[in-house]
Symmetry: C2
Subunit: 455 residues, 2 copies
């Protein structure tokens, strides 16, 4: 007989997974290799180790090892805030009057406010192991920067964050959280790098961009002895670390005999979605079970649903390796009215390949409907979600309402990646009725595609 | 043999307490009764029911019932975010190199960001039961207003919040969280009440005060059919609801054979401290166990350590009943440089009586040392604490360092009431080295005492 499912399933510390799962090992067609932008050939470990920590470069290139031990120091840090709760959305089910059963894996119960901490602590650990002084990165909204600052504080590493200037000015509180954790936060573009000075000279008064911040962070890592560059999404190593989300979820589901029919996650670069679905996808790839996977992206930045599957630059500065992925072109920038995050032009190579093979679906949603779902969820389930996470909420509610129509008792699982405490400017826009939607025209997209490299 | 203590102790849903504990029932000397400000006589249930919901007025006056059933609807809401974790501060112990064992009960894992939700949901429930349309309240920093907005959204009650104007303008994000939960937030003083209009006429351009906001909220409740006024601290009913914190903590301690020697909480109006210590104090009062209780308050608003134990007005507007408590006088306002919260002039009557009888100790701490402790804690334990909670952190660290000196293996337990995500202005001040301390002189205090009523 089925046991009663509590509101929140907390696994015990002993049930915390001791290994990450690398879904690439079970993929028949591996994701296409990263290419050296200079030579056009697959990057070697040596080349990649100039930018990333050696151990992380190894993980990036490892398509074969299915399980990788999580070092004890990382496990110890994970125990601060993991296992994270798998929550049964009893209140939401009731409010929607649906026969569906809804679950969400909540990653917001830590000060970074999101799942990003799962990978930042791993990346900081390997940097420390390698004897580095510190790491550099860029941050837009600040979620990744905060997670990295926390991880670096824990290991006593120097943390240099290049924060897009307009965010630096508009999100002073995110900046202060990073500073409280000891990070050095520089508005980008800055006078501290060559590329920054060049851009400032060319575009005086510019408010910056993610692409420029990446370029500054990479330059800072490469030109400073004892530093490496780290990144919070897109990379295969990040999906590996984020598999902790899916592994815990799977353990909890198995323990309580929960069998998800649909698994939903928001998708920007793919770190959360990839982490959540990885072990379930593994079962599907090995023919042990079947699931419907849905990636949800903003209609204003629709890389999976309207992008091209092609090699592209990962950054606007074109200094990083090329990746084959669903992309809108590295020059694509979402409309300024887009407030909901998930604004990356590309998508994880792993997820791109799974999507190309039809193993995963994708849909896009418009932001006013996303914020309406966020508000509804906040009032009913008590947690104020991050705008990014709310894309998954919107899709989960849609699926639950379909079940109401059909009478199906599907089990819907989604990832609630984080909280929206630092996104109140966007919420205010919604509360004031000032939020608008934007869907790029085919002509808008053509401009982005025009910048794709010929490979 | 002692079992291994996990980093976080999560009780199961079944272990959630089903009754609140009313410490007044075990007190030999009861807290002095509230007085009607008009007659000078103890307030009757009828009089109190004009301001508060009838059931809450009953709880306010009940000095005898030790255990009060928690209605199922409230329990159901509690299960959204409770039981809250009791955390072993392994990382902090190691960093301090102390033989002491440190635990904290963390109440920040919910969107209101603090323990305030424990009482707001109870107060909203009784308002709903009474068939009211809504409730009114005031808020300064916004923690209580947020918790009330969440509770009202859950029960479909109207929620009118008078927010001190300077906070309304300086903390737009707190305001937006309340609005997202459907609350009607008015900057105080406002044109919507008689008292507001009067104050605006007398002091054009004033940035408001808590006292004024209380007066507006009470007027709004009394003059609107179907409304009552609710309050988030100081009252005995609030301590009753907050006893859920202490009851869970005691259950977890008993389960894991943890025997706290020292129990520490920050103290503003006393809601968190009173809730945390209530059941432990009950044991002490019944002679079953002994504990050292420490209330920690800011040196700039030292009601227990430097106040008078006397009848005083609970609000600057002098419309609420008089309470006997440790007080600095209702006219006392902490120095503008005070950023750490806990700025109420008085203290819960229950805690005041326990303190007067020597059953509890109190100490005051200066804010730069509080923020230094907060930063240290954030970096070591991974959670960015609210400034209020950080008073308790500072005192816990001090006790742990004493143990390091003496070699004593004391067990120290403190309340971590909430997170500091909406307090980054204060953190920024600290990060920039701009934070200063202030200790009122005896002359400063004398001015506040001069306003005490003659009773």
């Amino acid at each position: 007989m089925a046991q009663k499912i509590p509101y929140k399933i907390y696994l015990s510390e002993d049930e915390l997974p001791k290994q990450w799962y690398n879904v690439r090992a079970d993929m028949k067609t591996k994701p296409a290799p990263l290419l050296n932008p200079g030579t056009g050939k697959p990057v070697t470990l040596d080349e990649l180790s100039q930018i990333f920590c050696t151990e992380l470069a190894k993980q990036e290139l490892d398509n074969d090892t299915a399980y990788i031990d999580i070092p004890e120091e990382i496990l110890s840090f994970y125990r601060m805030y993991r296992p994270s709760p798998l929550t049964r959305a009893y209140f939401l089910e009731k409010a929607l009057d649906t026969p569906a059963k809804i679950y969400y894996k909540f990653e917001g119960n830590n000060t970074s406010g999101s799942h990003k901490l799962n990978s930042s602590i791993a990346q900081a650990y390997y940097a420390k192991q390698q004897g580095l002084k510190g790491v550099t990165t860029e941050t837009g909204a600040g979620q990744w920067g905060t997670a990295l600052a926390m991880a670096c504080a824990y290991f006593g590493l120097d943390c240099k964050v290049f924060m897009v200037k307009c965010s630096y000015e508009q999100k002073p509180f995110r900046r202060e959280v990073m500073r409280t954790y000891g990070a050095d936060v520089t508005p980008s573009p800055s006078e501290t790098t060559e590329v920054g000075r060049k851009i400032l000279k060319e575009f005086p008064g510019t408010s910056g961009s993610l692409g420029c911040a990446i370029s500054e962070a990479v330059e800072c890592a490469v030109t400073n002895e004892g530093y490496r560059y780290v990144l919070g999404s897109v990379l295969s190593q990040v999906l590996l670390h984020q598999s902790i989300i899916g592994l815990e979820t799977m353990t909890a589901c198995d323990k309580y005999d929960i069998k998800p029919d649909i698994i939903i996650g928001c998708a920007g670069g793919g770190s959360n979605l990839g982490g959540l679905i990885s072990p379930f996808m593994g079962r599907k790839l090995r023919g042990e079970a079947d699931y419907q996977f849905i990636a949800v992206e903003p209609a204003s930045c629709p890389s999976l649903t309207r992008g091209k599957y092609a090699y592209d630059y990962c950054d606007t500065g074109k200094v990083c390796p090329l990746a084959k992925m669903y992309t809108l072109g590295s020059g694509f920038i979402p409309s300024p009215n887009h407030a909901g995050g998930l604004r990356y032009h590309g998508m994880s190579s792993v997820l791109s390949e799974l999507y190309a093979e039809g193993l995963m679906e994708a849909k896009s949603v418009e932001q006013t409907s996303v914020f309406a779902a966020a508000q509804q969820f906040a009032r009913i389930e008590g947690t104020l979600p991050a705008p990014e996470s709310s894309h998954a909420i919107k899709a989960a509610i849609d699926e639950a309402l379909k079940c109401k129509e059909t009478g199906e008792e599907k089990t819907i699982l989604f990832g609630l990646t984080g909280t929206g405490y630092f996104d109140m400017v966007a919420y205010q826009k919604f509360n004031d009725g000032q939020m608008t939607d934007y869907i790029p025209t085919d002509e808008d997209l053509a401009k982005g595609f025009a910048g794709l490299p010929e490979i």
